[in-house]
């Protein structure tokens, strides 16, 4: 614990002999204990319970059974699991389609605009998730702003108009998830484009490529590391999102997190809920682990 890691000229060993005092001990004790007690221990509870069996209302027998995990393969739950993956994937795809032009726009904007534009991307992300979702409800509901505008437009054109059912379906969930996770896509894309060598685009144009071709053959490959990072950073939280499908989704657009919530709050089957939570955690880790591999495979032009 006392070995100083420095860059000075003094030999490492001599420096290491200096007494470090009690401070590192206190720091390690404080942060380590907190982490152990209030983070790892709660996770350990969930892990242990995922192998348990619910007996009556509150008793959980530690049966060390895999039944809870196998139950997740039940068509009912497998369906929800697959739909969660589908909705999260769709969210990532839509975010990418909208985010790439924005990231390119910011990366090629005049230098003095960049901090402001980046701040504008991040700012909505800093407001409370519930408030943002609530704001979307007001926009999308039957008497919401979108339907009101469409209604006025129809009236003006003299067309008949029925309010569109924009809320409480899968589309609303994807709109909500894109709305909430957009910065996670734009920021990595921007970071990748910012590192790109601009002269490559000029070279492509000098060699006779059209602007569209230069964009697709030079700019897009350069953005690839950002595409992977952004897709993963959007996919992982979208997969585990609870509030958006809960408030914007209909009865049949529930996602995995809603099932987990039900097991803990209403259905009162903690072991099954715990097993689903762990499956979600493993899915998140698995997806995150893809990133270094993908980044190594496609480096983009240098």
């Amino acid at each position: 614990m006392t070995a100083g890691a420095g860059t000075g000229r003094r030999p490492e060993r001599q420096r290491g002999r200096r007494r470090a005092g009690l401070l590192p001990g206190f720091a390690a004790l404080g942060s380590g204990l907190w982490f152990l007690l209030f983070f790892l221990a709660p996770l350990a509870f969930v892990w242990v319970f995922s192998f348990g069996r619910q007996e009556g209302l509150i008793d959980i027998e530690l049966a060390w059974t895999l039944d809870n995990y196998l139950r997740a393969l039940d068509p009912l739950y497998l369906d929800i699991l697959l739909r969660s993956i589908w909705l999260a994937g769709l969210t990532a795809a839509v975010s990418l389609a909208l985010g790439l032009p924005v990231a390119v726009g910011i990366a090629f904007a005049p230098a003095r605009w960049k901090p402001l534009l980046l701040l504008l991307v991040v700012l909505p992300f800093l407001t409370n998730l519930l408030i943002r979702t609530y704001a979307l409800i007001a926009v999308l509901r039957t008497k919401g702003y979108v339907n009101a505008v469409l209604g006025w437009a129809a009236e003006w054109l003299g067309l008949p108009f029925e309010p569109l059912p924009l809320l409480y379906n899968d589309a609303a969930v994807v709109i909500g998830l894109v709305y909430v996770h957009m910065p996670f896509m734009i920021l990595p894309l921007y970071a990748a484009l910012e590192r790109m060598d601009r002269s490559l685009v000029e070279a492509a144009l000098d060699l006779g490529a059209s602007r569209a071709r230069a964009f697709w053959t030079v700019v897009v490959p350069a953005a690839l590391p950002g595409v992977f990072a952004g897709t993963i950073l959007v996919f992982v939280p979208a997969l585990g999102s609870y509030l958006t499908p809960d408030l914007l989704g209909g009865a049949d657009s529930q996602m995995i997190a809603n099932v987990i919530e039900r097991q803990f709050k209403r259905a009162n089957d903690w072991p099954f809920g715990a097993a689903l939570s762990l499956l979600l955690i493993y899915a998140a880790f698995g997806t995150l682990a893809l990133r270094p591999a993908l980044a190594r495979r496609w480096r983009g032009p240098r």
Partner: protein, 283 residues
């Protein structure tokens, strides 16, 4: 990109993607998508109509109504209190963790470094569920007097916020010249004095940024609060959640606007501090 200021009228160069009409249209559309819902929420909190869709004049009566709603005010105070607690504790713990990981080498350090990132990557719902299970199984008392009844939420918030603080502080520490601390020791300072006079002053902007981040994260959170709030603890998101389930009302708009204003103020403070450090050559 070459001399854009001089050749304002010139046709956009090949790299001036930002000056193309379709690109500007997409940028504008995305920013409208990001901001219009929040802007409408704020605007209609001042609208003198119960129906949230037609403008009927300016009023602050929904703010008065929200302020008169004792439960809502209590919930708001509770949430702010939790955010301040989270900022204070998460900054201390995060700074301690960052300093240890930066300063020392020890066996299984890579495990610790990986573990610190865990709360950031674990889905929120799983963290919320884990906290729910943990507090109910260890028998954390349910009926503590105010403000201790908020302790579960506060603890859960610290647990997910302090790794973010650790990352911010560690990024700041990376620019510290370790020879300064060595020099202090060579000049006879004890380990604590050397730390206090060299490392900690350098870390200070990191403390500020980390504390503001933890504050914002705590205010921003819904899911973990939802799972850790006991039957009798009311916090702002949980209260608004129960109101939103029933209907969209200007009162909720007004209350939400206040929370957005608090977050915006914290963000402005963070950005302002950063800009000042830029000017003073800190960063």
């Amino acid at each position: 990109m070459k001399a854009p200021t001089k050749r304002r009228r010139a046709p956009p160069g090949p790299l001036d993607y930002t000056r193309r009409a379709w690109m500007r249209f997409v940028l504008l559309a995305v920013f409208v998508f990001l901001y219009a819902p929040l802007a409408a929420l704020i605007a209609f909190s001042f609208n003198d109509s119960k129906r949230n869709i037609v403008w009927r004049g300016f009023t602050t009566k929904y703010y008065e109504k929200a302020a008169a709603n004792e439960v809502l005010v209590e919930a708001f105070v509770n949430s702010l209190l939790i955010a301040f607690f989270t900022a204070a504790v998460a900054t201390v713990l995060g700074a301690a963790a960052a300093w240890l990981l930066w300063r020392y080498r020890f066996p299984f350090k890579w495990v610790c470094e990986g573990a610190v990132a865990l709360p950031i990557v674990i889905p929120e719902i799983c963290m919320g569920v884990a906290m729910l299970v943990f507090f109910s199984r260890i028998g954390w008392p349910d009926d503590l007097p105010w403000p201790l009844n908020l302790s579960r939420i506060g603890i859960a918030h610290v647990s997910f916020a302090f790794p973010f603080v650790a990352f911010v502080v560690r990024a700041r520490l990376a620019s510290f010249n370790r020879e300064l601390e060595e020099a202090a020791r060579d000049l006879g300072a004890g380990p604590w004095a050397a730390l206090r006079d060299t490392v900690i002053p350098h870390m200070r902007p990191g403390f500020m940024a980390g504390a503001l981040l933890a504050f914002i994260l705590s205010l921003d959170d819904f899911v973990i609060t939802f799972f850790t709030s006991g039957p009798d603890t009311i916090t702002f998101p949980v209260k608004v959640y129960s109101m939103v389930r029933f209907s969209v009302t200007p009162e909720v708009n007004a209350a939400s606007t206040v929370l957005v204003a608090v977050t915006a103020a914290a963000t402005a403070l963070a950005v302002g501090l950063r800009n000042r450090q830029f000017r003073e050559g800190f960063l």
